[in-house]
Symmetry: C2
Subunit: 96 residues, 2 copies
């Protein structure tokens, strides 16, 4: 199991229609083959300067790579992520 997470802050105002549209658009990622346990999350620690998070799991590295290469992921990164995300940190986990 590989857990792929990204914690991020949007350029949009909190509670805005643009923020909601971005978070809704991200649901396309959940439909990509191999994606398991897809979650859209709110980051709530005052010790972290990020607002949202996505988390998903893959059975193995091949499934993760297929997700990265999938046209729906490539389009989401190009059309939504890069123009609308102000800052982010990727964190990926495997069991110890």
């Amino acid at each position: 199991m590989i857990r792929h997470t990204v914690v991020f802050t949007l350029k949009h105002a909190s509670g805005s229609a643009e923020e909601r549209a971005f978070l809704d658009a991200a649901l396309v990622l959940d439909a990509i083959p191999g994606v398991q346990k897809f979650e859209r999350l709110r980051q709530v620690s005052p010790k972290a300067d990020y607002t949202f998070g996505f988390s998903m799991e893959f059975a193995d590295q091949a499934a993760y790579q297929a997700y990265n290469d999938h046209p729906d992921h490539v389009a989401f990164v190009r059309d939504r992520w890069l123009p609308e995300v102000a800052k982010f940190q990727e964190i990926d986990y495997v069991a110890l």
Copy 2:
């Protein structure tokens, strides 16, 4: 549900006995009342400069606070975390 995570790097050498001892000592956290889904994880993204992670869930803020205040957590932070962790980032999530 609140998911409390922390991604971190130890001062110890990779694969050292000291590293193993720290990770084993952290199991005391799993026994604290209210802690659910405790995980010890290896951080594997080359885009993140951290080596390990812990993840756990709490039913609500009261359970999270009780964990923070629990003597076994206080002792772990004082005796292991502060002296042995080189850098860390806390990230906490709730469902969107």
